[in-house]
Each structure stands twice: as structure tokens, then as C-alpha cells.
Amino acid sequence: MVDIAEIAVSAAELKLGTEPVQGDGVRLSHADPKARYSLRARDAKVLADVIGCALPGKIGDTDGGIACLGPDEWYALLPAGTDLPRGEGLPVSVVDVSSRALGLVLEGPGALAVLSSGCPLDLAKMSVGRATRTVFETVEIVVWREADDRWHIEVWRSFATWLWNAFLAAMPQAK
């Protein structure tokens, strides 16, 4: 006789927490609000002139809140409200994506283990100050190592609830 009890929590009932969660050796919280830009250009110099900021030159490097994600792509995490010039008519693309993603922060000695529970990169070898786009299981994220024990994770808004809860599930085991 098969008897399948209903699940306690359904995917639809998962909640995105608002307050930080402190676990044993790891803390999960929301990052401060940010202005986010997707910046594109074949020639970094033209783009740098448009936005008036220096751009990191190598994929994975960051500089002043801007990460180089690809050969012609940068991702800027700037103080909320920052308004960048669009460079109209120039061979650049400046797109405001401030609302597209949410920033989550994992910090503490267990943070690496939480992130590694679903991210296949060798994150221990990632230097402080590096950033990259990657995945956590099937969800795309941008990982930014802000300090030895502090990781900033950018995730598209509608995936944040799942990711928050996946982190919560991994936290008790991450000591």
C-alpha cells in the first residue's frame, strides 16, 4: 500500500529571507542595495572614457566595484543611485540592470563550504578581489570574493528565493 504524505513545504512556499541568518561559522545576509550595470565594448578604453572609471583588464579581475566578466564585458556594482552615462552613438553598451539581480553575502569560515555545496568551481583557489560568472547547481550566479571569508553572490531576482533556501540547507553542514 503506497501512502505518500504531502510535502511540508512546497517550492511555491519558499520565502526569501529579509534578515541575516547566523549559522555555525557562516552568516547569510543581503548585500546593501547597489546600482548595477552591464557594460560592453570591444575597446575598453572607449568604454572607460564614457563612464569615467578605470576598467579591470583581465577576465576575473575587479577594480573599484567593476568586474571583468568576459573579453568585452564588465559588471559594475556601484553605490546605489549611481547614474552612468550611456555613451550614445559610441561603440559601447551601457545598460542599467540595478533591479535585475539581488546580492547575497556569505561570510565566515564556513562560507566557502556553503558556496561549494553547489558551485563546481575550485573557489579555494580564487583570490580575494576576483569575480566570475558561474553556476550554483542549475542557477547562474556571479561570485565575487570580497575578502578571505566573505563572498558576494549576485543572482537574478527570481532565482534568489531558491538560492537563499539552498544556502540555508547547506549551512548546517558547513563547519
Binding site: M1, V2, D3, I4, A5, I7, A8, V9, S10, A11, A12, E13, L14, S38, R40, A41, R42, D72, R86, E88, G89, L90, P91, V92, S93, V94, V95, D96, V97, S98, S99, R100, A101, A113, S116, S117, G118, C119, P120, L121, D122, A124, K125, E137, T138, V139, W156, R157, S158, F159, T161, W162, L163, N165, A166, A169, A170, P172, Q173
Partner: protein
């Protein structure tokens, strides 16, 4: 000796008793026992019943190779696990195990009658019978076969346990923590890299756990490993498989060894490890010997008896006979003797025994029978003696005993090596395959590399016997009841390849995966065929190394975390309003908003009327959005879409139709030009990622000269559709900086400005046929703006509507939904969208395919409208259409209904359909045969409401 527990020795903790039950009977053992050792200590010899004949079976091995002693462990509701190997089940307080595959009890099993009739069930018997009468196969034979098959019972309720998973990285991964693995780990760790050492047992040590002489060393090495920061030692962790580029997957068992009330956290953990170098130190497994009666409970591997005695302090009998063809059997016998286990005799097929072994046996007063073989084991539920004969056929004698130990030589564990596609070579000395070459950074050490001293011996598998092969009951695969004669029969019936023999006899396909049977099967086939083993082949090893729970494989992806469910920022509002949802791609969307006891039809009718007569609001945020920016943006879109884009002025919108290169519609959406070098594209909800990927493909690989970039903005913008004659009045008080007058802001225009104090891209577009706006605001403000529109809308009778209403409204206007009215085989012309194809454009994606012969041939299915003769009859979506309803099955179908609704606006049903040559059938009556009735409908243009579009321009 008390019972079968030796007076001393072993790694068990004799001060700590553990109580457990087996088949409901209370029993006890010590901390450190396995279920098998604890039961053996109580004198239990009978552990299970075999798969096919239900023959009584005891313990064969002391590790994962065990084929017979399978039990079900019950840890409470939802926590029942079948088919666990008793030697691998750690004893804990409260452990409740039951035997399997017997009815009604282990000692008295009625199905064991099968054994009496075993002669009628040789290998492959089912292929030869159960064919007459034909109907009986389904009704009688198959149900009986199915009921008799299977081992334990499946769980029947939801598993309350959770599972963990992680990725891990190391420079060196060592699989197997026996002496060779530990040495390899220590060596690698000294170089400073990250080292993982995995072992499947409860504690590390491997073979050393059964050798007290090594315990001091083991303790020292364990301590040393534990003290090194760069070393991770995982016991109870089985390396399941080796995958490409040293990706090794392992499962760690976290709680099953603990009493239920002490088990917290995940039950198992999946380790997905990428290693620089992999060192396999997986050891070797002793082979049984194949002789008459080798499956009677009490006949087991010599190495198992050694482990039970020296690791667990249990004698497997009081009078043991060893049947060896290998030195290791003698060594084990001597070790057992030294530990106080009474060895009566050593029988060895070899005439020449190494003098030091023979001498030591003599000193131990063990009778030796060189040149002899066991020819028969007497006893049914337990051994009570063996017959032996010179060379198996000569003069015989009987020996009194209660257990028989088999020493048939050793098989290196090359499974993971083989997973990695490493090649194997046959080694005569081992009588087994050894690792040869690999293209991975992978090596074997210790016994699995063939680098271990077990002594020497024969590799015979089958012992010589007085009976001819076809009469013997000598088992090769114990669990699956494969006898040596079954292999003989397979060969006789023409099966020559080892893969055929395996599949025909099922040798090696049991839950032990052939760990003790593969090589013996191969040897026997080789003997019967008189061909060398290497010509018969080797069955390939596939992951997992041992059976692994589904739960461990899925890690966190269980229940609520199975897959993300995407929700918009307005979803919570819809939830409070009692919306009924539907899943679309990864999203959930409000389908309709029932009030009171309304069903879907009533709610949708009300929502439709509201939009047509007043105003409705709809959360369209899930639509895909792409920002296309750069000097060549218009040129790029012109190449991607079917229609012209270069002439579109900033501030205006255009419907875009996207084809695959095969010429069929794959997506559509309304897009806006915000500036000469900036477009805001929309895609379907489900197509967003696919369209972006496709566009990136063309941009990067075909037209890399274009200066244009694509950015997904799907989640940047919340989209609130405000539709209906009063739409302008609802948003007007909220909007700043945009002239909303029809003259300044016509249909298919876009303006940037502010709404409720935040920036907006305001589209004047309509998927409903009414005056309409789509308010795009940054998602962080989406809910606030929605609330404001909702509040303002109260003055105008605003009604929220869902996707179902959206579908009805657009169908009344004949707007298609890609994926519903198209199905991947529909061209623009088929869909009546020929107008959206730029005739003068020299090229666009898919254009060339539209000129293929079948695409331009007459008679293609074309999108039309259908009006049923009975206006209240709503056709079923997917219903098939025929011209002649009176034809016989199979009928000639000329099309199908793609969309069908009751239109509250029109007070009748409407439908869209793809019909062969449909546009030439306008006015014709076609037929839709349904079960028990045929519905007639007239072909009309797919436009049911406001064909002039006057309402759009209000």
C-alpha cells in the same frame, strides 16, 4: 569461547553492548560489530534466500562483495531500506533488520519449492516457455514471474530524510584507505597539496583491520593523517564512479550507523570531487570456488572468516575445513588457528604446497589434503560435513565440519580504473585482469595494481568433480542462482561472448555486481569453450561501484528545492487575491482570479468583460526582455527578424517575428526603439533564454563585425499591462513627463518618463485589442507601482486578469501564441503572418528555408478561424479536423484546433485552427469528430472582434 564469540581479540568494544533485532527476535552484539558479525557470534548461519530458487544462504564475504546476506533495515516510518548487505551494516542500539525473499519465514520458505523443480528453470528458461496459450502470458505467467522476482520490498512512503551534496577539489584523491592507500595519501600530503582519502568502511585500514599486527602502525598513520590540515579523510564513503577528467563521485553515509534518535542532519552526502591525480588503492576481493554445495550456509570466503575472527572476534564455526587453491587460504587458516578458531583440515587442489605453509599447518595439527578437492557439502540450512576426493574424481573421504572456507585467489578491484576507460591486461599469475593503460592522470597502488603479496595459487574457479558439469549444483553467482552448468548451457546454446553469457545466465548481474562471480564465470566459459579467457572478453564495469541510494544522487534537489520556481514581484499580491496559477516555463503565473465560488470559465468571462468594458491589469513581467545596444543595433535586428527594422523611428514599436534557420517560427514579441542605438526587445516567457542564446550565436560567430551588444533585462523590468477603454484614465494621474494623448502617444509607441516617481518605459501596445499600456518599471519598484495603479484603478472598476483571460482576449483578435498556435513546423505564411516578412529584405535568419520545395508547395496547413455551428459548443484544443466525417478510421485529418474558448464578449465560442489549405476553405464547413459525436464548424478568418482595430486607437 562463548557461543561463537572468541575469548579475546578483535576491534570490538567488549564493554559496550548493543541490542538489536533480526526477524523480530531480540539479540545483541558489541560496539564495533557489523550486523553479520553480531549474528554469527550468536550462531546464526542462515541469513537469506536466493533470488530464483530461494535456496537457504549464509554469509559469503565480510565486505561489499556479499551476495547472500541481504536484509531490510527499518528505521521507522518512511525509513525502510531493502537489500542492505549484513556485513556492511554497522551495529547500533535498536537496529531492526529482517531477512528477505522468503515466505513465510527464513527457515521455512514455501517458495523454496522452486529449488525442487530447479531442473525446469535453467538459464534462459523464460525464453523457451510461457507462450501458450497466448493470452496466459499477460494474465498468468508474467504476474507470477514478477511476484517471485525482486529481493526486498520497496519503501512505500515518503522518505523524511534529507541529503547533502557538495563539490570538492584536491590535488590528490586516494580511493581506498588500506595500507597502500594510506601510504599513498601520506606521500601525497607531504608535498603540501590537498589530499582526499576515501574509504567505504566504518573506519580506515582496509585489510589491516583484519591483521592485528598492523594495528599499531594503523593507529599511528591515522593520527598522522588526522593532524594534517591538507588531508581530508572520509570513511563510510564509497567512490561510486570515475568520470571524465578525474571527476570522481562519492557518497558518504552520515547517519545510518547511528541509533535513530541520535541521527541528526542529512542521511547521506554526495561528494563531487575534481582531482588533479587519482590514486586507486581499492584492494582485491577473494574469489570463491565453484563446487557442489558451495552455497550451503557456512561455506564462505577464507578472508571473510579471517575478518570475522580477527576484526570482530567471532569464530564462524567450531570445526572448519579450508578449501584452497591459493596460498592465502593457508595463511588465513594459520591466522585463524592462532586466533583460536579450530581448523580441522586444509584441502588444496595443488599437490605441491609451499613447504613453509605445509610445515606450519603440520605444527598447528591441521590435517592437510594436498591434491584434493571438495566434491560435496552436506547440510541444508547449515554445513555438517564435506566430501573430498583426490583431484576431485579419485578416492574420497568425508570430513566432519560446520564451516567451509574457500580460497580461490584474488581479484584486483579495477572498477574505477575501468570506468575511466583504462585498459586491462590479463595476468596469468593472478588469474585476473590488472590495470594497463589510461589517458587520465590515474594510477593504481597495492592489491588493485597487482602489487600485493597474497602468495601464489591456481586460477581454476571450477573444481574438478565426479559429476559431469550438467548435473552439478555448483554455484557461480550466488544471489542470482547461476550455476556452472548454466554457463555450460549458455555455451551449448551458442552464446560465446562473455556479454551474451552474462545476459543469458544473469551471471554477475545481481546486487553484488559480479564482484565474486565475474571471473569464475569467465574461467568456466573459457574451460567449456577451450579458448583463452582473453578471447571471451571482459564485461565492462559501470558506475556505481556498489549500489547507492537515489537520495544521495539528488542531494539538495529534493521536495521544495527540486527546481527553482520563478515568481514575479507582483506574485505575492496575486496570491493574496486568491489567484489560481499555472506554470509556464520556470515561472508561475496567475491564470485567473476567481471571486467567491466562480469556476475558471466564470472568472475568465468576468475578467474579459471588464477589460473590454472598463480596464484590467495584468502582470506581464515574465515576458523575456533583451536590451540591444550599439551603433549596429538596427542592422542586427534587421538580420535576425523577418521584418524591416532599420526604418523604425525612435519612440516607436514593432512586432517582430523570429524564425529558426529552418524557416519555422520560434518566437515573437513587440520591440521598441528607444534611441538610434538602443532597442528594448521582448520575447515569449518560455523563449527568453533560447532567443538570447540564438542571437548571441549569430552575433558572435556570424556577424562579429557588428558593434552591438545584447543584455538580458527580463528581470530588470516589472511589466504591468493596463488594458481597456479606461486604461489611460487609470495611469494618467500617476505618469509624469509623458504626454499620453492619442496624438502625442499613438498605438505602437514607447515613451520614457516617470510613474509614481520612478523611471518607466511606457509602451502603448495591446495584446487584447483594447486601448492599452504596458508599464515597465524597475523590478524593485514593481509592486509599489502595481499597488498605485490598483488603487487608482478602483475609481474605474479595474479588474486583475490572468493568463487565461489574456489568451481569450488575444484569440478574439486573432493574435497567435507561439507554441500554441504554432508548433515548430509553422512558417510565417502558414500562420497568416506573411505581412510580417520583409519582401524586399535580401536576407534574414530563416529566409532561405522558406524557399524550399515543400515550404512553397500548396496544401500547407494554414491558420484559420473556426465558428462552431452550435455557438455554445467550445471545441477542445487539440481536436482533429476532417473534411469528411463519415470516413472510416484511419481518417484523413486535415488539421487541428490550436486555440478555443468561449468568448464572453461575443456570446459564443471561437477557435483557431491549422487547416491544410485553410485560406482556400473560407466559408466551408469542416468536421471535428469527437468520441460519440461530430461537431461541425465553419472556416472563417482568424479575427473575431473589432477587425478594423478602432478600439486600439482610442
Amino acid at each position: 569461547m562463548s557461543g561463537f564469540r572468541l575469548a579475546d581479540g578483535g576491534r570490538i568494544d567488549r564493554r559496550t553492548k548493543r541490542t538489536f533485532s533480526f526477524d523480530g527476535k531480540a539479540s545483541w552484539g558489541y560496539a564495533g560489530d557489523s550486523l553479520a558479525s553480531a549474528l554469527l557470534a550468536q550462531g546464526q548461519m542462515l541469513f537469506g534466500r536466493s533470488f530464483k530458487y530461494h535456496r537457504p544462504r549464509g554469509i559469503l564475504g565480510a565486505g561489499v562483495e556479499e551476495p547472500n546476506a541481504l536484509v531490510t533495515v527499518d528505521r521507522g516510518p518512511g525509513r525502510v531500506t531493502p537489500n542492505l548487505r549484513a556485513p556492511s551494516v554497522a551495529l547500533h542500539d535498536g537496529l531492526a533488520a529482517t531477512s528477505q525473499n522468503r515466505f513465510p519465514s527464513l527457515r521455512f520458505d514455501m517458495v523454496a519449492l522452486n529449488d525442487q523443480f530447479g531442473a525446469f528453470f535453467p538459464a534462459g528458461f523464460y525464453n523457451k516457455t510461457f507462450m501458450w496459450p497466448r493470452a496466459a502470458w499477460e494474465k498468468v505467467y508474467e504476474p507470477i514471474i514478477r511476484r517471485l522476482a525482486g529481493l526486498g520490498d520497496s519503501p512505500t512512503t515518503r522518505d523524511p530524510d534529507h541529503y547533502d551534496a557538495t563539490y570538492a577539489h584536491c590535488e590528490t584523491l586516494v580511493v581506498g584507505a588500506g595500507p597502500a592507500g594510506i601510504a599513498a595519501a601520506l606521500e601525497a600530503a607531504a608535498n603540501g597539496g590537498r589530499v582526499f582519502l576515501l574509504d567505504e568502511q566504518d573506519e580506515i585500514g582496509g585489510g589491516a583491520l583484519s591483521d592485528p599486527a598492523q594495528w599499531a602502525w594503523l593507529a599511528e598513520a591515522s593520527a598522522k593523517l588526522a593532524a594534517m590540515d591538507n588531508v581530508t579523510v572520509l570513511s563510510r564513503t564509497t567512490a561510486i564512479g570515475h568520470y571524465h577528467q578525474n571527476f570522481v563521485v562519492a557518497a558518504e553515509r552520515l547517519t545510518d550507523h547511528l541509533p535513530v534518535d541520535a541521527a541528526h542532519g542529512p542521511r547521506e552526502k554526495l561528494w563531487r570531487i575534481r582531482a588533479g591525480e587519482v590514486v586507486l588503492a581499492m584492494g582485491a576481493i577473494e574469489r570463491p570456488l565453484v563446487f557442489e554445495g558451495n552455497d550451503v550456509p557456512g561455506v564462505m570466503l577464507a578472508s571473510a572468516a579471517r575478518t570475522f575472527a580477527l576484526r570482530y572476534g567471532v569464530a564462524v564455526g567450531r570445526k572448519l575445513v579450508v578449501m584452497a587453491v591459493h596460498d592465502s587460504g593457508w595463511r588465513d587458516a594459520l591466522a585463524l588457528h592462532a586466533a583460536g578458531v579450530p581448523i580441522t583440515a586444509i584441502v588444496d587442489l595443488r599437490r605441491d604446497i609451499a613447504p613453509e605453509l605445509a610445515e606450519a599447518a603440520r605444527d598447528a595439527r591441521i590435517a592437510c589434503y594436498p591434491g584434493y578437492a571438495v566434491t560435496k557439502v552436506s547440510g541444508r540450512l547449515a554445513v555438517d560435513g564435506v566430501s573430498i576426493a583426490l583431484a576431485g574424481v579419485g578416492k574420497g573421504l568425508k570430513l566432519d565440519c560446520d564451516a567451509v572456507l574457500m580460497a580461490g585467489g584474488w581479484t584486483p578491484t579495477v572498477h574505477l580504473w575501468s570506468h575511466a576507460k583504462g585498459s586491462l591486461r590479463w595476468d596469468e599469475n593472478w588469474g585476473a585482469f590488472l590495470p594497463d593503460k589510461t589517458h587520465e592522470d590515474l594510477r593504481c597502488v597495492g592489491a588493485c595494481a597487482g602489487a600485493w603479496d597474497f602468495g601464489s595459487g591456481l586460477s581454476v574457479g571450477l573444481l574438478p568433480a565426479p559429476k559431469p558439469l550438467h548435473e552439478s549444483k555448483a554455484f557461480v553467482d550466488f544471489q542470482n542462482d547461476v550455476k556452472a552448468r548454466d554457463i555450460g548451457l549458455a555455451v551449448q546454446e551458442g552464446f560465446r561472448s562473455i556479454e551474451h553469457i552474462k545476459r543469458y545466465t544473469t551471471n554477475g548481474m545481481a546486487t553484488d555486481q559480479g564482484k565474486t562471480s565475474n571471473l569464475n564465470g569467465l574461467q568456466i566459459a573459457s574451460g567449456v569453450l577451450s579458448r583463452p579467457v582473453t578471447e571471451i572478453g571482459l564485461t565492462t564495469f559501470r558506475p556505481p561501484y556498489t549500489p547507492q541510494s537515489f537520495g544521495a544522487m539528488l542531494g539538495h534537489h529534493k521536495e521544495a528545492l527540486f527546481q527553482p520556481l520563478r515568481k514575479t514581484v507582483i506574485d505575492d499580491w496575486a496570491d493574496i487575491q486568491g489567484a489560481v496559477y499555472e506554470n509556464v516555463a520556470q515561472w508561475r503565473r496567475a491564470r485567473y482570479f476567481p471571486q467567491g465560488s466562480e469556476d475558471m470559465d466564470a472568472a475568465v468571462a468576468r475578467e474579459c468583460r471588464a477589460v473590454r468594458s472598463a480596464v484590467g491589469v495584468f502582470d506581464a513581467s515574465t515576458l523575456g526582455k533583451i536590451e540591444v545596444v550599439g551603433p549596429d543595433a538596427a542592422e542586427f535586428l534587421n538580420r535576425m527578424y523577418t521584418n524591416p527594422w532599420k526604418s523604425l523611428e525612435p519612440g516607436r514599436c514593432r512586432y517582430g517575428l523570429l524564425l529558426g534557420e529552418h524557416g519555422f517560427i520560434i518566437d515573437d514579441g513587440v520591440s521598441a526603439r528607444l534611441a538610434p542605438d538602443r532597442f528594448h526587445l521582448t520575447t515569449t516567457t518560455g523563449g527568453a533564454a533560447r532567443v538570447l542564446g540564438m542571437m548571441e550565436d549569430y552575433l558572435q560567430t556570424e556577424w562579429s563585425d557588428l558593434n552591438v551588444w545584447l543584455t538580458s533585462t527580463t528581470e530588470q523590468w516589472s511589466v504591468i499591462a493596463v488594458q481597456g477603454p479606461k486604461a489611460r484614465r487609470v495611469i494618467a494621474p500617476l505618469v509624469e513627463g509623458i504626454d499620453l494623448s492619442p496624438e502625442a502617444f499613438p498605438h505602437m509607441a514607447v515613451r520614457e518618463g516617470q510613474i509614481c516617481g520612478v523611471e518607466t518605459r511606457l509602451f502603448r501596445v495591446s495584446f487584447t485589442g483594447e486601448l492599452g499600456f504596458e508599464v515597465n518599471v524597475p523590478a524593485e519598484h514593481g509592486r509599489m507601482v502595481w499597488d498605485a495603479i490598483w488603487a487608482e484603478g478602483q475609481k474605474h472598476g479595474v479588474t486583475p486578469y490572468g493568463t487565461e483571460t489574456m489568451h481569450v482576449l488575444r484569440a478574439e483578435k486573432g493574435f497567435i501564441i507561439v507554441g500554441q498556435d504554432t508548433d515548430g513546423t509553422v512558417t510565417p505564411d502558414d500562420a497568416g503572418l506573411g505581412w510580417a516578412v520583409g519582401k524586399k529584405k535580401p536576407d534574414f535568419v530563416g529566409k532561405r528555408s522558406l524557399a524550399r520545395p515543400d515550404i512553397v508547395a500548396p496544401g500547407r496547413k494554414q491558420l484559420v478561424g473556426l465558428l462552431t455551428e452550435d455557438p455554445q459548443m467550445v471545441l477542445e484544443e487539440g481536436a482533429q479536423i476532417v473534411a469528411d466525417p463519415n470516413q472510416a478510421v484511419p481518417m484523413t485529418m486535415i488539421g487541428h484546433v490550436t486555440s478555443s474558448y468561449h468568448s464572453a464578449t461575443l456570446g459564443r465560442s471561437i477557435a483557431m485552427a491549422l487547416v491544410a489549405g485553410g485560406r482556400d476553405r473560407m466559408g466551408d464547413t469542416l468536421h471535428i469528430p469527437m468520441p460519440g459525436k461530430t461537431i461541425s464548424a465553419k472556416v472563417v478568418a482568424p479575427m473575431f472582434y473589432d477587425p478594423e482595430g478602432s478600439r486600439l486607437n482610442g
